[in-house]
């Protein structure tokens, strides 16, 4: 008879996963830490490849101290965790994660898994958005941070949220030309949240500085902009938008776009964690409590992979979820430390909510996209095709009929805007059309792998 599995698996080595692993090691455990990337830090604190020389301040700006601290914490865990970089967890069944690493299939049997799966950009498709030269905001930032490249010579930044202003500033500071910052959120919407945002303290001041930066450096800024089309022949030559009641064309050869982030919830979904519609973030999100526990025994969630809250909150949640694991295994607890984490997590709630309200997802823009707009870029399904098939009151049925969300990205990109288009076509609330169900493999793997 084999011994019962006692492994703790941590999926993701970003801010949440690193702090989770740190607590587990402190409790005398040796977790398996998986990350799809070749190095740790997650996307926000992603480390450039070996041989790159820019200092932390150049790579991470005002959060350089946090990046340095997180990397140091992770480096201190090496040898004390079973760290498996470049390892994709592509399926989760009760007690088992299926992995792919360097072309080899593997599995990790676990007693507890803390899913710290992070996030990706949330977008609004618009005519021309599949052209070469258009990337997500996160993509534009990764190009600069980990490859030393700008996505174009004259880059337009479009969307809303802190990342919009941050990446535009980082590009300008790195020597790129910023054609303009086009924020779809009107200034008044942001200003209304200012009193609540004050609770963010230093983060609020950093945000104000980011938003002032382009104006102070002569970069064009439009708030309350409505994007109409990204134009070009082979690539991008302009961005047509409406602002101040008039239509304009901005000359640019690249566009970075994003409207906040959305959690990577696929593994939580496969684990059977129930989802609830979140009215503020306007997404279906996996259910978990403030201690990181889900209704599924042995499954814990932390960080942006569960609900977007940013790196600082992710670190706190990662540590807190790990203490839940420690408690559920009957190991000794550091109660003052847990109380400190609980207070720190609770203290962020007001600020994070105000931030969500200050930079809302422009759902009407998504709902009203022109019929000819490619909505699903994997399968080239247009908004018009979805509207024409809108009889079913369910996004999964619409997927079966139109192939929306059936492509290689599994609806990661088109899911939320697709739900807005469908709900508007049906005249119902977006919460009512449901969400695209998670399917394994959560990312494409060779057929031979799935057969094993």
């Amino acid at each position: 008879m084999s011994a019962p599995v006692s492994t703790v698996a941590v999926v993701g080595a970003g801010p949440a996963g690193t702090r989770a692993a740190e607590v587990l090691v402190r409790a005398g455990l040796r977790p398996v830490v998986l990350d799809e990337a070749p190095d740790n830090g997650g996307r926000i604190f992603q480390r450039p490849p070996p041989g790159f020389t820019r200092p932390y301040e150049a790579l991470y700006g005002s959060v350089a101290p946090q990046a340095r601290a997180l990397h140091a914490a992770f480096d201190g865990l090496r040898g004390r965790v079973d760290y498996r970089p470049s390892t994709l967890a592509w399926h989760l069944r009760p007690g088992t994660l299926h992995t792919l690493s360097d072309g080899q299939a593997g599995q990790v049997d676990f007693a507890q898994a803390i899913l710290c799966t992070g996030a990706m950009d949330r977008v609004v498709p618009l005519p021309g958005w599949t052209r070469p030269g258009v990337t997500t905001l996160g993509g534009a930032q990764i190009a600069l941070k980990t490859q030393g490249c700008a996505i174009g010579r004259r880059v337009a930044f479009l969307g809303t949220g802190p990342l919009l202003w941050l990446v535009a500033m980082q590009y300008a500071k790195a020597g790129a030309t910023v054609a303009a910052v086009l924020d779809t959120t009107p200034l008044a919407t942001k200003a209304r949240q200012a009193p609540a945002l004050l609770a963010g303290g230093r983060a609020f001041l950093t945000g104000l500085r980011m938003m002032a930066w382009p104006r102070l450096h002569g970069v064009k800024v439009v708030e309350g902009a409505t994007p109409l089309e990204i134009t070009g022949t082979d690539g991008v030559d302009g961005l047509r938008y409406r602002g101040g009641g008039r239509e304009h064309v901005l000359a640019c050869d690249a566009v970075a776009m994003g409207w906040g982030l959305k959690p990577e919830t696929q593994l939580a979904d496969l684990a059977g964690v129930p989802f609830d519609f979140d009215l503020v973030q306007r997404l279906h999100l996996p259910r978990r409590n403030d201690a990181g526990r889900t209704p599924v025994v042995g499954i814990y969630l932390a960080g942006d992979g569960a609900r977007i809250g940013g790196a600082e909150l992710a670190e706190l949640q990662g540590a807190r979820a790990a203490w839940s694991v420690v408690e559920d295994r009957g190991l000794p607890l550091d109660l003052p430390e847990i109380a400190r984490l609980d207070r720190a997590i609770a203290a962020q709630a007001g600020f994070r909510r105000a931030l969500d309200l200050a930079f809302p997802y422009p759902h009407a823009l998504a709902a009203e996209m022109p019929d000819a707009t490619t909505l699903c870029r994997c399968e080239a399904v247009t908004a018009g095709e979805l509207r024409a098939a809108a009889a079913p009151h369910d996004l999964n049925r619409a997927k079966a009929l139109t192939r929306l969300g059936m492509g290689r990205c599994q609806g990661r990109v088109c899911g939320p805007p697709g739900a807005e288009v469908l709900a508007a076509a049906l005249g119902c609330e977006v919460s009512e059309v449901g969400r695209l169900r998670g399917q394994w493999p959560v990312k494409p793997v060779p057929l031979s792998m799935a057969a094993e």
Binding site: G139, I151, G152, T374, C409
Partner: protein, 90 residues
């Protein structure tokens, strides 16, 4: 799409082939960077709606798939370039 190298340009050169033609990248480049340093697109949509050059740069959108001889289909943004790699745009 014109990728512009703004920093980290002192790295060693790496020779690979792109659609059979010799091409050059820098050590530490992903295939996405390597390809866009040599051309304007990464793949062509199989549905006839034009060229693509990736989108998310973080392994999620799957819109930068290329064929690497010996490795099969790879996401260009998540695959480091290596000397002698034979990369084919799909």
């Amino acid at each position: 799409m014109t990728l512009v190298r703004l920093a980290e340009t002192a790295r060693a050169r790496v020779a690979f082939t792109l659609d059979g033609a010799p091409a050059e990248a820098l050590e530490g480049d992903t295939l996405l960077t390597a390809i866009l340093a040599n051309g304007t697109h990464v793949r062509t949509s199989e549905f006839g709606d034009g060229a693509r050059a990736g989108f998310c740069w973080m392994g999620a959108c799957q819109d930068c798939g290329v064929w690497v001889v010996g490795l099969g289909r790879q996401r260009a943004c998540a695959t480091p370039v290596r000397a002698g790699m034979e990369v084919v745009r799909l």
